[in-house]
Symmetry: C2
Subunit: 293 residues, 2 copies
Protein backbone atom coordinates (compact mmCIF):
# COMPACT_ATOMS: atom_id res chain seq x y z
CA UNK A 1 0.00 0.00 0.00
CA UNK A 2 1.21 3.49 -0.89
CA UNK A 3 0.47 6.36 1.47
CA UNK A 4 0.79 9.97 0.34
CA UNK A 5 1.30 12.18 3.37
CA UNK A 6 -0.80 15.32 2.94
CA UNK A 7 -0.49 16.73 6.45
CA UNK A 8 1.85 19.53 5.32
CA UNK A 9 -0.71 20.72 2.76
CA UNK A 10 -4.28 19.59 3.48
CA UNK A 11 -3.45 19.44 7.17
CA UNK A 12 -1.79 22.78 7.71
CA UNK A 13 -3.90 24.84 5.28
CA UNK A 14 -6.75 25.22 7.76
CA UNK A 15 -4.62 25.96 10.80
CA UNK A 16 -5.00 29.45 12.24
CA UNK A 17 -1.54 29.57 13.85
CA UNK A 18 1.15 30.31 11.25
CA UNK A 19 3.48 27.32 11.37
CA UNK A 20 7.16 28.27 10.96
CA UNK A 21 8.63 27.15 7.64
CA UNK A 22 11.47 25.35 9.45
CA UNK A 23 8.96 23.22 11.36
CA UNK A 24 7.07 22.33 8.18
CA UNK A 25 10.37 21.24 6.64
CA UNK A 26 11.34 19.21 9.70
CA UNK A 27 7.96 17.43 9.82
CA UNK A 28 8.11 16.57 6.12
CA UNK A 29 11.57 15.12 6.66
CA UNK A 30 10.33 13.26 9.75
CA UNK A 31 7.49 11.68 7.74
CA UNK A 32 9.96 10.55 5.08
CA UNK A 33 12.27 9.24 7.77
CA UNK A 34 9.32 7.19 9.08
CA UNK A 35 9.07 5.54 5.67
CA UNK A 36 6.60 7.72 3.77
CA UNK A 37 7.43 7.60 0.04
CA UNK A 38 5.18 10.44 -1.15
CA UNK A 39 4.57 13.85 0.41
CA UNK A 40 2.41 16.73 -0.71
CA UNK A 41 4.57 19.49 0.71
CA UNK A 42 2.42 22.57 0.14
CA UNK A 43 0.04 24.22 -2.28
CA UNK A 44 0.77 27.03 -4.71
CA UNK A 45 -2.38 29.03 -4.09
CA UNK A 46 -2.83 32.74 -3.59
CA UNK A 47 -1.28 33.67 -0.24
CA UNK A 48 -4.14 36.03 0.53
CA UNK A 49 -6.67 33.18 0.23
CA UNK A 50 -4.63 30.62 2.19
CA UNK A 51 -1.95 32.51 4.16
CA UNK A 52 -0.63 29.29 5.73
CA UNK A 53 0.63 28.18 2.29
CA UNK A 54 2.43 31.47 1.49
CA UNK A 55 5.81 29.82 2.12
CA UNK A 56 5.29 27.08 -0.51
CA UNK A 57 8.53 27.91 -2.36
CA UNK A 58 10.56 28.07 0.86
CA UNK A 59 9.18 24.75 2.09
CA UNK A 60 9.86 23.02 -1.23
CA UNK A 61 13.38 24.42 -1.38
CA UNK A 62 14.18 23.66 2.22
CA UNK A 63 13.33 19.96 2.36
CA UNK A 64 16.32 17.61 2.01
CA UNK A 65 15.23 15.29 -0.79
CA UNK A 66 15.67 11.53 -0.45
CA UNK A 67 15.90 9.34 -3.52
CA UNK A 68 12.88 7.20 -4.21
CA UNK A 69 10.54 9.72 -2.59
CA UNK A 70 7.95 11.73 -4.53
CA UNK A 71 7.84 15.35 -3.35
CA UNK A 72 4.79 17.06 -4.75
CA UNK A 73 2.75 20.24 -4.48
CA UNK A 74 -0.89 21.04 -5.11
CA UNK A 75 -1.93 23.58 -7.73
CA UNK A 76 -5.38 24.90 -8.63
CA UNK A 77 -4.53 27.26 -11.50
CA UNK A 78 -1.98 28.08 -14.22
CA UNK A 79 -0.15 30.55 -12.01
CA UNK A 80 0.27 27.78 -9.45
CA UNK A 81 1.77 25.39 -12.01
CA UNK A 82 4.23 28.06 -13.10
CA UNK A 83 5.26 28.59 -9.48
CA UNK A 84 5.64 24.83 -8.92
CA UNK A 85 7.82 24.48 -12.03
CA UNK A 86 9.94 27.43 -10.94
CA UNK A 87 10.26 25.90 -7.46
CA UNK A 88 11.92 22.91 -9.08
CA UNK A 89 9.22 20.33 -8.39
CA UNK A 90 9.25 17.23 -10.58
CA UNK A 91 5.76 16.15 -9.54
CA UNK A 92 2.63 18.21 -9.28
CA UNK A 93 -0.98 17.54 -8.28
CA UNK A 94 -3.39 19.53 -10.42
CA UNK A 95 -6.91 19.55 -9.17
CA UNK A 96 -10.45 20.72 -9.86
CA UNK A 97 -13.83 20.21 -8.25
CA UNK A 98 -16.77 18.23 -9.60
CA UNK A 99 -19.11 20.62 -7.78
CA UNK A 100 -19.86 23.94 -9.39
CA UNK A 101 -20.58 25.65 -6.06
CA UNK A 102 -17.42 24.31 -4.45
CA UNK A 103 -15.40 25.21 -7.56
CA UNK A 104 -16.61 28.81 -7.34
CA UNK A 105 -15.80 29.01 -3.64
CA UNK A 106 -12.46 27.22 -3.80
CA UNK A 107 -11.11 28.34 -7.18
CA UNK A 108 -13.44 31.17 -8.19
CA UNK A 109 -14.39 29.32 -11.37
CA UNK A 110 -17.46 27.63 -12.83
CA UNK A 111 -17.08 23.98 -13.81
CA UNK A 112 -16.51 24.79 -17.47
CA UNK A 113 -13.99 27.52 -16.63
CA UNK A 114 -12.25 25.12 -14.28
CA UNK A 115 -11.98 22.49 -17.00
CA UNK A 116 -10.36 24.95 -19.40
CA UNK A 117 -7.90 26.00 -16.69
CA UNK A 118 -7.27 22.34 -15.87
CA UNK A 119 -6.31 21.53 -19.49
CA UNK A 120 -3.95 24.48 -19.48
CA UNK A 121 -2.39 23.37 -16.21
CA UNK A 122 -1.86 19.83 -17.52
CA UNK A 123 -0.29 21.17 -20.74
CA UNK A 124 2.18 23.45 -18.94
CA UNK A 125 3.14 20.81 -16.41
CA UNK A 126 3.67 18.10 -19.02
CA UNK A 127 5.68 20.48 -21.24
CA UNK A 128 7.90 21.26 -18.27
CA UNK A 129 8.49 17.52 -17.87
CA UNK A 130 6.63 17.08 -14.59
CA UNK A 131 4.81 13.97 -13.49
CA UNK A 132 1.18 15.01 -13.21
CA UNK A 133 -1.43 13.72 -10.81
CA UNK A 134 -4.93 14.84 -11.77
CA UNK A 135 -7.44 15.20 -8.97
CA UNK A 136 -11.19 15.59 -8.75
CA UNK A 137 -12.46 17.23 -5.58
CA UNK A 138 -15.95 16.57 -4.18
CA UNK A 139 -16.15 13.47 -6.36
CA UNK A 140 -18.49 11.72 -3.92
CA UNK A 141 -20.75 14.54 -2.77
CA UNK A 142 -20.85 18.24 -2.01
CA UNK A 143 -21.93 19.86 1.21
CA UNK A 144 -23.59 22.65 -0.82
CA UNK A 145 -25.04 20.72 -3.75
CA UNK A 146 -25.64 17.31 -2.20
CA UNK A 147 -25.22 14.51 -4.70
CA UNK A 148 -22.66 14.93 -7.46
CA UNK A 149 -23.39 13.33 -10.81
CA UNK A 150 -21.37 10.14 -11.19
CA UNK A 151 -21.62 10.55 -14.97
CA UNK A 152 -19.93 13.92 -14.66
CA UNK A 153 -17.16 12.52 -12.46
CA UNK A 154 -16.52 9.75 -14.99
CA UNK A 155 -16.59 12.28 -17.83
CA UNK A 156 -13.96 14.33 -15.98
CA UNK A 157 -11.83 11.21 -15.49
CA UNK A 158 -11.91 10.56 -19.23
CA UNK A 159 -11.11 14.17 -20.08
CA UNK A 160 -8.20 14.16 -17.63
CA UNK A 161 -6.84 10.93 -19.09
CA UNK A 162 -7.05 12.45 -22.58
CA UNK A 163 -4.70 15.19 -21.37
CA UNK A 164 -1.95 12.62 -20.85
CA UNK A 165 -1.83 12.84 -17.08
CA UNK A 166 0.14 10.20 -15.14
CA UNK A 167 -1.94 9.53 -12.07
CA UNK A 168 -5.59 9.89 -11.08
CA UNK A 169 -6.98 11.02 -7.77
CA UNK A 170 -10.56 11.06 -6.54
CA UNK A 171 -11.21 13.15 -3.46
CA UNK A 172 -14.03 12.75 -0.98
CA UNK A 173 -13.40 16.31 0.18
CA UNK A 174 -16.58 16.41 2.26
CA UNK A 175 -16.46 12.95 3.84
CA UNK A 176 -19.88 12.15 2.40
CA UNK A 177 -18.80 9.04 0.47
CA UNK A 178 -20.03 5.62 1.53
CA UNK A 179 -18.50 2.24 0.75
CA UNK A 180 -21.21 1.15 -1.70
CA UNK A 181 -20.77 4.37 -3.69
CA UNK A 182 -16.97 4.13 -3.53
CA UNK A 183 -17.08 0.65 -5.01
CA UNK A 184 -19.59 1.66 -7.68
CA UNK A 185 -17.51 4.65 -8.84
CA UNK A 186 -14.08 3.06 -8.48
CA UNK A 187 -15.19 -0.03 -10.41
CA UNK A 188 -16.02 2.28 -13.31
CA UNK A 189 -12.79 4.26 -13.03
CA UNK A 190 -10.44 1.27 -12.86
CA UNK A 191 -11.02 0.09 -16.46
CA UNK A 192 -10.68 3.67 -17.73
CA UNK A 193 -7.43 4.24 -15.88
CA UNK A 194 -5.84 1.09 -17.24
CA UNK A 195 -2.45 0.93 -15.52
CA UNK A 196 -2.33 4.43 -14.07
CA UNK A 197 -2.30 4.64 -10.29
CA UNK A 198 -5.62 5.68 -8.74
CA UNK A 199 -5.42 7.60 -5.47
CA UNK A 200 -8.28 7.97 -3.07
CA UNK A 201 -8.28 11.06 -0.87
CA UNK A 202 -10.58 10.52 2.09
CA UNK A 203 -11.87 12.66 4.92
CA UNK A 204 -13.35 11.15 8.07
CA UNK A 205 -16.03 13.81 8.50
CA UNK A 206 -18.84 11.26 8.87
CA UNK A 207 -16.74 8.46 10.37
CA UNK A 208 -16.58 6.38 7.19
CA UNK A 209 -13.01 7.17 6.13
CA UNK A 210 -11.40 3.83 6.94
CA UNK A 211 -14.45 1.90 5.69
CA UNK A 212 -14.25 3.77 2.38
CA UNK A 213 -10.54 3.00 2.10
CA UNK A 214 -11.22 -0.71 2.56
CA UNK A 215 -14.01 -0.59 -0.02
CA UNK A 216 -11.53 0.89 -2.51
CA UNK A 217 -8.92 -1.75 -1.66
CA UNK A 218 -11.54 -4.36 -2.55
CA UNK A 219 -11.62 -2.75 -6.02
CA UNK A 220 -7.84 -2.88 -6.41
CA UNK A 221 -6.93 0.65 -5.31
CA UNK A 222 -3.71 0.79 -3.32
CA UNK A 223 -2.81 4.49 -3.17
CA UNK A 224 -4.27 6.64 -0.40
CA UNK A 225 -3.84 10.20 0.82
CA UNK A 226 -3.62 10.60 4.59
CA UNK A 227 -2.57 13.30 7.06
CA UNK A 228 -0.63 12.82 10.30
CA UNK A 229 -2.83 13.31 13.35
CA UNK A 230 -5.93 13.32 11.15
CA UNK A 231 -5.35 17.00 10.37
CA UNK A 232 -7.04 18.75 7.52
CA UNK A 233 -10.11 20.12 5.89
CA UNK A 234 -10.89 22.46 3.05
CA UNK A 235 -11.35 26.08 4.15
CA UNK A 236 -14.09 26.43 1.53
CA UNK A 237 -16.29 23.49 2.59
CA UNK A 238 -18.92 23.88 5.32
CA UNK A 239 -18.22 21.53 8.25
CA UNK A 240 -15.06 20.10 6.69
CA UNK A 241 -12.90 18.02 9.01
CA UNK A 242 -9.69 16.06 8.80
CA UNK A 243 -8.22 13.51 6.46
CA UNK A 244 -7.99 9.91 7.54
CA UNK A 245 -5.03 9.90 9.94
CA UNK A 246 -1.78 8.47 8.60
CA UNK A 247 -1.00 6.58 11.79
CA UNK A 248 -4.55 5.15 12.02
CA UNK A 249 -4.39 4.00 8.40
CA UNK A 250 -0.96 2.41 8.85
CA UNK A 251 -2.12 0.69 12.04
CA UNK A 252 -5.26 -0.69 10.38
CA UNK A 253 -3.52 -1.80 7.18
CA UNK A 254 -0.69 -3.53 9.02
CA UNK A 255 -3.18 -5.32 11.30
CA UNK A 256 -4.95 -6.55 8.19
CA UNK A 257 -1.73 -7.92 6.76
CA UNK A 258 -0.89 -5.18 4.24
CA UNK A 259 2.63 -3.78 4.16
CA UNK A 260 3.07 -0.02 4.33
CA UNK A 261 6.83 0.04 5.04
CA UNK A 262 6.10 2.87 7.46
CA UNK A 263 7.40 2.86 11.01
CA UNK A 264 4.27 3.72 12.95
CA UNK A 265 6.10 4.49 16.16
CA UNK A 266 7.74 7.33 14.27
CA UNK A 267 4.47 8.44 12.67
CA UNK A 268 2.74 8.52 16.06
CA UNK A 269 5.64 10.50 17.55
CA UNK A 270 5.32 12.96 14.66
CA UNK A 271 1.55 13.30 15.11
CA UNK A 272 2.07 13.95 18.82
CA UNK A 273 4.74 16.56 18.11
CA UNK A 274 2.42 18.40 15.70
CA UNK A 275 -0.39 18.08 18.24
CA UNK A 276 1.80 19.57 20.98
CA UNK A 277 2.75 22.49 18.73
CA UNK A 278 -0.86 23.21 17.75
CA UNK A 279 -1.96 22.93 21.36
CA UNK A 280 -5.10 20.88 20.86
CA UNK A 281 -6.09 17.22 20.54
CA UNK A 282 -5.94 16.09 16.93
CA UNK A 283 -8.57 13.59 15.74
CA UNK A 284 -6.24 10.65 15.00
CA UNK A 285 -7.15 7.80 17.33
CA UNK A 286 -4.41 5.21 17.66
CA UNK A 287 -1.94 7.72 19.08
CA UNK A 288 -4.15 7.74 22.19
CA UNK A 289 -4.11 4.02 22.84
CA UNK A 290 -1.41 2.17 21.01
CA UNK A 291 1.65 1.60 23.09
CA UNK A 292 4.72 0.29 21.34
CA UNK A 293 6.81 -0.13 24.49
CA UNK B 1 -30.44 -4.12 10.15
CA UNK B 2 -31.17 -4.28 13.88
CA UNK B 3 -29.62 -1.70 16.17
CA UNK B 4 -29.47 -2.23 19.93
CA UNK B 5 -29.16 1.13 21.65
CA UNK B 6 -26.64 0.80 24.48
CA UNK B 7 -26.17 4.46 25.31
CA UNK B 8 -28.16 4.18 28.55
CA UNK B 9 -25.83 1.40 29.78
CA UNK B 10 -22.43 1.35 28.04
CA UNK B 11 -22.71 5.07 27.39
CA UNK B 12 -23.68 6.35 30.80
CA UNK B 13 -21.66 3.89 32.91
CA UNK B 14 -18.43 5.88 32.44
CA UNK B 15 -19.94 9.32 32.97
CA UNK B 16 -18.76 11.14 36.09
CA UNK B 17 -21.87 13.32 36.42
CA UNK B 18 -24.73 11.37 37.97
CA UNK B 19 -27.50 11.45 35.38
CA UNK B 20 -30.99 11.83 36.90
CA UNK B 21 -33.10 8.70 36.59
CA UNK B 22 -35.90 10.69 34.94
CA UNK B 23 -33.54 11.80 32.17
CA UNK B 24 -32.32 8.26 31.56
CA UNK B 25 -35.95 7.18 31.25
CA UNK B 26 -36.79 10.05 28.90
CA UNK B 27 -33.80 9.33 26.65
CA UNK B 28 -34.63 5.61 26.44
CA UNK B 29 -38.18 6.54 25.46
CA UNK B 30 -36.83 9.06 22.94
CA UNK B 31 -34.63 6.40 21.32
CA UNK B 32 -37.61 4.08 21.02
CA UNK B 33 -39.70 6.90 19.64
CA UNK B 34 -36.97 7.38 16.99
CA UNK B 35 -37.51 3.78 15.92
CA UNK B 36 -35.01 1.79 18.00
CA UNK B 37 -36.40 -1.69 18.63
CA UNK B 38 -33.90 -2.85 21.27
CA UNK B 39 -32.49 -0.96 24.25
CA UNK B 40 -30.04 -2.01 26.93
CA UNK B 41 -31.48 0.15 29.68
CA UNK B 42 -28.95 -0.34 32.47
CA UNK B 43 -26.70 -2.88 34.14
CA UNK B 44 -27.30 -4.72 37.38
CA UNK B 45 -23.80 -4.37 38.79
CA UNK B 46 -22.65 -3.42 42.26
CA UNK B 47 -23.53 0.25 42.82
CA UNK B 48 -20.21 0.82 44.58
CA UNK B 49 -18.27 -0.29 41.47
CA UNK B 50 -20.43 1.59 38.95
CA UNK B 51 -22.41 4.23 40.85
CA UNK B 52 -24.02 5.54 37.65
CA UNK B 53 -25.94 2.24 37.32
CA UNK B 54 -27.24 2.25 40.92
CA UNK B 55 -30.72 3.21 39.70
CA UNK B 56 -31.08 0.17 37.39
CA UNK B 57 -34.35 -0.95 39.00
CA UNK B 58 -35.83 2.55 38.89
CA UNK B 59 -34.88 3.04 35.25
CA UNK B 60 -36.33 -0.32 34.21
CA UNK B 61 -39.54 0.33 36.13
CA UNK B 62 -39.91 3.88 34.89
CA UNK B 63 -39.69 3.33 31.15
CA UNK B 64 -43.05 3.17 29.34
CA UNK B 65 -42.80 -0.07 27.39
CA UNK B 66 -43.82 -0.18 23.74
CA UNK B 67 -44.89 -3.44 22.15
CA UNK B 68 -42.39 -4.96 19.75
CA UNK B 69 -39.44 -3.41 21.59
CA UNK B 70 -36.87 -5.48 23.51
CA UNK B 71 -35.98 -3.82 26.82
CA UNK B 72 -32.91 -5.48 28.28
CA UNK B 73 -30.35 -5.12 31.03
CA UNK B 74 -26.75 -6.26 31.39
CA UNK B 75 -25.70 -8.62 34.15
CA UNK B 76 -22.27 -9.91 35.09
CA UNK B 77 -23.13 -12.22 37.99
CA UNK B 78 -25.86 -14.29 39.61
CA UNK B 79 -26.89 -11.49 41.92
CA UNK B 80 -27.39 -9.31 38.83
CA UNK B 81 -29.66 -11.88 37.17
CA UNK B 82 -31.73 -12.14 40.31
CA UNK B 83 -32.11 -8.36 40.37
CA UNK B 84 -33.05 -8.29 36.66
CA UNK B 85 -35.70 -10.98 37.16
CA UNK B 86 -37.10 -9.14 40.16
CA UNK B 87 -37.13 -5.91 38.13
CA UNK B 88 -39.52 -7.63 35.72
CA UNK B 89 -37.22 -7.79 32.70
CA UNK B 90 -38.11 -10.35 30.07
CA UNK B 91 -34.73 -10.11 28.33
CA UNK B 92 -31.29 -10.11 29.86
CA UNK B 93 -27.74 -9.86 28.50
CA UNK B 94 -25.37 -12.07 30.45
CA UNK B 95 -21.75 -11.46 29.75
CA UNK B 96 -18.20 -12.57 30.51
CA UNK B 97 -14.76 -11.66 29.24
CA UNK B 98 -12.43 -13.76 27.10
CA UNK B 99 -9.48 -12.05 28.78
CA UNK B 100 -8.41 -13.28 32.19
CA UNK B 101 -6.93 -9.91 33.19
CA UNK B 102 -10.02 -8.00 32.08
CA UNK B 103 -12.28 -10.55 33.76
CA UNK B 104 -10.46 -10.04 37.05
CA UNK B 105 -10.67 -6.25 36.75
CA UNK B 106 -14.25 -6.10 35.52
CA UNK B 107 -15.87 -8.99 37.35
CA UNK B 108 -13.28 -9.97 39.98
CA UNK B 109 -13.13 -13.50 38.56
CA UNK B 110 -10.66 -15.69 36.71
CA UNK B 111 -11.79 -17.10 33.39
CA UNK B 112 -12.77 -20.45 34.86
CA UNK B 113 -14.62 -18.82 37.75
CA UNK B 114 -16.37 -16.55 35.26
CA UNK B 115 -17.49 -19.52 33.20
CA UNK B 116 -19.00 -21.25 36.24
CA UNK B 117 -20.83 -18.03 37.15
CA UNK B 118 -21.94 -17.65 33.54
CA UNK B 119 -23.55 -21.11 33.49
CA UNK B 120 -25.35 -20.31 36.72
CA UNK B 121 -26.56 -16.98 35.29
CA UNK B 122 -27.86 -18.67 32.15
CA UNK B 123 -29.65 -21.33 34.21
CA UNK B 124 -31.41 -18.85 36.50
CA UNK B 125 -32.40 -16.57 33.63
CA UNK B 126 -33.78 -19.43 31.52
CA UNK B 127 -35.63 -20.91 34.50
CA UNK B 128 -37.21 -17.51 35.08
CA UNK B 129 -38.39 -17.55 31.46
CA UNK B 130 -36.17 -14.75 30.22
CA UNK B 131 -34.77 -14.43 26.73
CA UNK B 132 -31.00 -14.62 27.17
CA UNK B 133 -28.34 -12.93 25.14
CA UNK B 134 -24.87 -14.31 25.89
CA UNK B 135 -21.96 -11.96 25.40
CA UNK B 136 -18.19 -12.35 25.20
CA UNK B 137 -16.21 -9.23 26.08
CA UNK B 138 -12.72 -8.57 24.69
CA UNK B 139 -13.37 -11.18 22.00
CA UNK B 140 -11.02 -9.44 19.55
CA UNK B 141 -8.15 -8.32 21.77
CA UNK B 142 -7.33 -7.07 25.24
CA UNK B 143 -5.52 -3.87 26.13
CA UNK B 144 -3.72 -5.74 28.93
CA UNK B 145 -3.08 -9.13 27.35
CA UNK B 146 -2.85 -8.19 23.67
CA UNK B 147 -4.12 -10.96 21.43
CA UNK B 148 -6.94 -13.15 22.68
CA UNK B 149 -7.00 -16.78 21.57
CA UNK B 150 -9.57 -17.25 18.82
CA UNK B 151 -9.82 -20.89 19.80
CA UNK B 152 -10.84 -19.85 23.30
CA UNK B 153 -13.46 -17.42 21.96
CA UNK B 154 -14.92 -20.18 19.78
CA UNK B 155 -14.84 -22.60 22.72
CA UNK B 156 -16.77 -20.05 24.78
CA UNK B 157 -19.30 -19.63 21.97
CA UNK B 158 -19.88 -23.40 21.94
CA UNK B 159 -20.19 -23.57 25.71
CA UNK B 160 -22.65 -20.69 25.73
CA UNK B 161 -24.74 -22.35 23.02
CA UNK B 162 -24.80 -25.56 25.06
CA UNK B 163 -26.45 -23.58 27.87
CA UNK B 164 -29.47 -22.96 25.66
CA UNK B 165 -29.02 -19.23 25.27
CA UNK B 166 -31.09 -17.38 22.67
CA UNK B 167 -28.71 -14.83 21.18
CA UNK B 168 -24.96 -14.46 20.85
CA UNK B 169 -22.92 -11.30 21.19
CA UNK B 170 -19.24 -10.72 20.50
CA UNK B 171 -17.79 -7.53 21.92
CA UNK B 172 -14.76 -5.65 20.70
CA UNK B 173 -14.59 -3.92 24.07
CA UNK B 174 -11.17 -2.42 23.36
CA UNK B 175 -11.64 -1.35 19.73
CA UNK B 176 -8.65 -3.47 18.70
CA UNK B 177 -10.52 -5.60 16.15
CA UNK B 178 -9.75 -5.25 12.47
CA UNK B 179 -11.96 -6.23 9.52
CA UNK B 180 -9.84 -9.24 8.49
CA UNK B 181 -10.02 -10.64 12.01
CA UNK B 182 -13.74 -9.87 12.31
CA UNK B 183 -14.45 -11.83 9.14
CA UNK B 184 -12.23 -14.72 10.21
CA UNK B 185 -13.91 -15.07 13.62
CA UNK B 186 -17.49 -14.36 12.51
CA UNK B 187 -17.19 -16.86 9.66
CA UNK B 188 -16.42 -19.51 12.27
CA UNK B 189 -19.18 -18.40 14.64
CA UNK B 190 -21.97 -18.26 12.02
CA UNK B 191 -22.14 -22.03 11.39
CA UNK B 192 -22.03 -22.70 15.15
CA UNK B 193 -24.83 -20.24 15.89
CA UNK B 194 -27.11 -21.73 13.26
CA UNK B 195 -30.21 -19.53 13.32
CA UNK B 196 -29.51 -17.59 16.51
CA UNK B 197 -28.96 -13.86 16.07
CA UNK B 198 -25.30 -12.78 16.34
CA UNK B 199 -24.69 -9.29 17.70
CA UNK B 200 -21.48 -7.38 17.23
CA UNK B 201 -20.63 -4.81 19.88
CA UNK B 202 -18.04 -2.39 18.52
CA UNK B 203 -16.01 0.45 19.94
CA UNK B 204 -14.37 3.05 17.72
CA UNK B 205 -11.24 3.40 19.84
CA UNK B 206 -8.87 2.90 16.90
CA UNK B 207 -11.18 4.34 14.21
CA UNK B 208 -12.15 0.96 12.76
CA UNK B 209 -15.66 0.65 14.23
CA UNK B 210 -17.68 1.24 11.07
CA UNK B 211 -15.22 -0.77 8.96
CA UNK B 212 -15.58 -3.70 11.37
CA UNK B 213 -19.36 -3.44 11.20
CA UNK B 214 -19.27 -3.64 7.40
CA UNK B 215 -16.91 -6.62 7.56
CA UNK B 216 -19.43 -8.41 9.77
CA UNK B 217 -22.31 -7.51 7.44
CA UNK B 218 -20.32 -9.20 4.65
CA UNK B 219 -20.49 -12.37 6.79
CA UNK B 220 -24.24 -12.12 7.28
CA UNK B 221 -24.37 -10.39 10.67
CA UNK B 222 -27.20 -7.88 10.93
CA UNK B 223 -27.43 -7.05 14.65
CA UNK B 224 -25.22 -4.30 16.07
CA UNK B 225 -24.86 -2.52 19.40
CA UNK B 226 -24.45 1.25 19.20
CA UNK B 227 -24.65 4.22 21.55
CA UNK B 228 -26.13 7.64 20.84
CA UNK B 229 -23.46 10.31 20.47
CA UNK B 230 -20.76 7.63 20.40
CA UNK B 231 -20.81 7.49 24.21
CA UNK B 232 -19.27 4.68 26.16
CA UNK B 233 -16.28 2.75 27.30
CA UNK B 234 -15.56 0.18 29.95
CA UNK B 235 -14.32 1.69 33.23
CA UNK B 236 -11.98 -1.28 33.60
CA UNK B 237 -10.19 -1.04 30.25
CA UNK B 238 -7.17 1.22 29.77
CA UNK B 239 -7.80 3.87 27.10
CA UNK B 240 -11.35 2.69 26.43
CA UNK B 241 -13.48 5.03 24.33
CA UNK B 242 -16.97 5.09 22.92
CA UNK B 243 -19.18 2.69 21.05
CA UNK B 244 -19.87 3.28 17.39
CA UNK B 245 -22.40 6.12 17.40
CA UNK B 246 -26.02 5.16 16.72
CA UNK B 247 -26.61 8.15 14.45
CA UNK B 248 -23.37 7.55 12.50
CA UNK B 249 -24.26 3.89 12.01
CA UNK B 250 -27.81 4.70 10.90
CA UNK B 251 -26.49 7.36 8.50
CA UNK B 252 -23.92 5.01 6.97
CA UNK B 253 -26.28 2.04 6.69
CA UNK B 254 -29.07 4.06 5.10
CA UNK B 255 -26.59 5.59 2.62
CA UNK B 256 -25.53 2.08 1.69
CA UNK B 257 -29.12 1.05 1.05
CA UNK B 258 -29.84 -0.87 4.26
CA UNK B 259 -33.04 -0.15 6.16
CA UNK B 260 -32.82 0.62 9.86
CA UNK B 261 -36.38 1.99 10.32
CA UNK B 262 -34.82 4.62 12.60
CA UNK B 263 -35.57 8.31 12.17
CA UNK B 264 -32.07 9.76 12.23
CA UNK B 265 -33.24 13.33 12.70
CA UNK B 266 -34.65 12.18 16.02
CA UNK B 267 -31.49 10.20 16.89
CA UNK B 268 -29.30 13.23 16.16
CA UNK B 269 -31.56 15.46 18.26
CA UNK B 270 -31.26 12.95 21.10
CA UNK B 271 -27.46 12.78 20.80
CA UNK B 272 -27.32 16.58 20.90
CA UNK B 273 -29.57 16.72 23.94
CA UNK B 274 -27.35 14.23 25.81
CA UNK B 275 -24.28 16.18 24.65
CA UNK B 276 -25.76 19.44 25.96
CA UNK B 277 -26.52 17.83 29.32
CA UNK B 278 -23.03 16.36 29.68
CA UNK B 279 -21.46 19.65 28.62
CA UNK B 280 -18.84 18.32 26.25
CA UNK B 281 -18.54 17.31 22.59
CA UNK B 282 -19.41 13.66 22.12
CA UNK B 283 -17.47 11.68 19.51
CA UNK B 284 -20.33 10.94 17.10
CA UNK B 285 -19.60 12.67 13.81
CA UNK B 286 -22.66 13.08 11.63
CA UNK B 287 -24.44 15.23 14.20
CA UNK B 288 -21.83 17.90 13.37
CA UNK B 289 -22.42 18.01 9.64
CA UNK B 290 -25.64 16.43 8.55
CA UNK B 291 -28.44 18.89 8.09
CA UNK B 292 -31.91 17.52 7.56
CA UNK B 293 -33.59 20.89 6.95
Amino acid sequence: MIIEEQGPRDGFQVEAIQIPTELKIKWIEDAVSAGVKRVQMSSFVHPKLVPQMADAEAVCAGVSKQSGVVYSGLVLNVKGVERAVKAGLTHVAISMSASDTHSRKNANKSLSEALVEFSEMAKIAKEAGLVVRAGIQCAFGCRYEGNISEEYVLELVKKHLDLGIDELSLADSTGMANPVQVKRIINQVVPLARNLPIFLHLHDTEGKGIANMLAAIDCGVNHFDTAFGGLGGCPFIKGATGNIATEDVVHCLEQMGYETHINNQKMIALAKEVEAFLGRKLPGKVKEVVSFD
